[in-house]
Symmetry: C2
């Protein structure tokens, strides 16, 4: 992957690169996600081998960090891959969505993965009860912390349990069993996925190409995070549709915090855009709207899908004959380049660009680890605890009171 | 529909309500969308009647305002409706997406709607050529301005042409033939859709309930648009997934502008969230992040889908027995209420709430017109031309140069 930065950093900022790198190396000792690319996948491979052909679909029951990562990888690969089993993500209490998804699967041929780090996520347990009521105990496996209530329950059911390590946060867990189990059951090459992540890990920590780039990008984004308090990830392919959702959780939930050593609320709002569609939706706001946005373009070098615009000249539309014979992949990348160049002419919109080689497991593994590292670097610089989410507790406790009130 | 505002307006601001109402009444004389709910749908009904049973799917070829509206309505109704024909939206030059969608339809049983206001949208013409090369001329109908190059071409093909009126902008066109033609072909009750819009129109312009509410909301949002420069639409149901995309274009492209009478770039960034999923993703950023966001909650009073959490008590998880027996629709609405109450305790996050009765045509018609009116009011107050999009031209002309360079 390439990452081109189109903004300048002053020497007064650049001098902090070494300090920042030392800080992340220090943090790495205690935070679990950094070592996930090097995990042992043998038990996961064995688990998949134990599945018969009678299981045709996998229902992932989880929400937030327990679903967004697997969903991002699965949907990224969907246009290029024949899956061994389909994945369905149950991640809402919306009864219309539950009924619609349920209609699409044959419950007898389904296996359920109940995914919850704490083991007591309300939405997940509600959906688990719903399907437990309709299916056999043998159809459930569990992905959770080993001492969670859910793990204890799973033991009484003699069900398979996969661990989420304590020091791996939900939104950083896609390369743990949380993401890997559903993905391997779908027939996705999780070794290649982890290899991609490893390459980014090594490039960053072993003085490779990404070290300098990531440090610079984080320093620039963090230094300017109050002026440019929105980051747009403008990804040119429908394949990125759920990847941007994963990025939104990672970035928003990690960086939207009270600062550790002050009283201030900080954070950068993540927005996901898909090109070229959002050229016809959001672009106007970028070009002429308030100058509070950085833009990260993302494109695919080789789509490996050789569709072309036919060489047809249409009456009254001859002006558009300039697209005749062009391959759609060349066209979409020229569109991305054109918007990037147009924005660069504005001089007050900071731009960078990520280019991945093609749509495969290794590429998305790289992107995942790239964004995790960037998030960690940002968290250090804007002085927040990147890995907690205390802000969500109040809503939960209000809901509990409402539910208790209803029964009492 | 209800719209509850949880913020206070000072008398110094409220006194502008009359002036603002007069301004929108003045604007109404020249802008076409205001009268769309009262359009004659007889020709559309006749067009649909002419379709045989052999047409099983409708491929809508359009981008931005030419697809987002129909897509929003279609997907909103999907969980509750048996469609007469399926709609497929071709709205990208991404070859992976084109190939994937094409695989899902039987080209012989498809009819194509080519939708482009200007009649020369590059992506749309590229896709039109692609399918013209594979299908019969008779399989195409056109929705465009009557004097556009595309209309002229359609005439030479003896194809059916539906008009997009000159004074109706793309992002305000869902209640014109742009939205209505694909929707009626899918078997959606467009009369009920327009009726919903009419009710909101009349409530606003004939001194009904929404007049005061919309004026107040616009005054508050506009007065504070620099401090609160992001609006989150937090919609509690997957059914709203594409509605929020439609809202993002409407809001972003209409309000992200240079001001008419000054040099300043203004605009409010629209962000779409889906609950409860985004409680586990974006909520942390709302609660503890930078105070630059207003939040609009949206919920459905009656889901008419009576799924319940079974009355099962799980070992080690007895604490969660409080959800036993609850209907999922009650649960999701309690979740929405809990988050709203938690945010109200913060005292510096402006909140409002929209409640629709149920998932049907009339409800989404109301929402559409509500948001169009709100956008127009905002545009007047922040002094922008709500209906143009000059910022997108530069990227287009750079692309044209690249394409000409390639051939020359």
């Amino acid at each position: 992957m390439e990452n081109n930065l189109y903004f300048e950093l002053k020497p007064s900022l650049l001098k902090y690169k070494g300090e920042l790198f030392n800080a992340i190396c220090e943090e790495k000792k205690n935070i679990g996600y950094y070592s996930l690319p090097f995990g042992d996948i043998k038990p996961l491979i064995d688990f998949e081998k134990g599945f018969g052909d009678n299981i045709e679909c996998i229902a992932v029951i989880g929400i937030g960090g327990s679903s967004l990562g697997a969903k991002a990888v699965y949907n990224f690969l969907k246009p290029v891959k024949e899956f061994k089993r389909k994945l369905y993500f149950f991640e809402t209490t919306d009864p219309l969505n539950i009924a619609e998804l349920e209609n699409r699967i044959d419950l007898k041929k389904a296996h359920f993965l109940i995914v919850s780090k704490s083991g007591s996520t309300l939405e997940t347990i509600a959906l688990f009860k719903y399907f437990l009521n309709k299916c056999d105990k043998e159809q459930f496996s569990f992905i959770t912390e080993l001492d969670s209530p859910l793990a204890k329950l799973a033991e009484t059911m003699d069900a398979k349990i996969f661990e989420i390590p304590k020091n791996v946060g939900g939104r950083f867990s896609v390369l743990s069993s949380v993401g890997l189990i559903p993905l391997i059951l779908a027939g996705i090459d999780i070794e290649a996925l982890l290899n991609g992540a490893k390459k980014v890990h090594n490039s960053f920590f072993n003085d490779g190409y990404l070290k300098d780039t990531l440090l610079k990008k984080a320093l620039f984004f963090a230094k300017n995070h109050q002026e440019y308090n929105i980051n747009l990830l403008f990804a040119y392919s429908e394949s990125f549709k759920y990847f941007v959702q994963w990025y939104i959780q990672l970035w928003g939930e990690s960086l939207g915090k009270k600062q550790k050593d002050s009283i201030f609320n900080v954070g950068v709002t993540p927005v996901g855009l898909i090109g070229p569609q959002d050229q016809h939706s959001f672009l106007q706001l970028i070009v002429e709207g308030t100058r509070n946005k950085t833009v990260t373009f993302m494109k695919i070098k080789n789509f490996k899908q050789n569709l072309k615009v036919p060489d047809i000249s249409l009456d009254f539309l001859q002006k558009l004959d300039i697209i005749n014979g062009i391959a759609f992949d060349e066209l979409i990348n020229k569109q991305s380049d054109s918007i990037k160049e147009a924005l660069l002419l504005q001089d007050d919109i900071p731009i960078d660009e990520i280019i991945i080689d093609e749509v495969n497991e290794e590429a998305i593994g790289k992107l995942i680890f790239y964004y995790e590292l960037l998030t960690s670097l940002m968290g250090i610089l804007i002085d927040v605890n990147t890995y907690n989410q205390p802000g969500v507790e109040l809503g939960k406790s209000i809901l509990k009171e409402k539910l208790i009130g209803r029964n009492g």
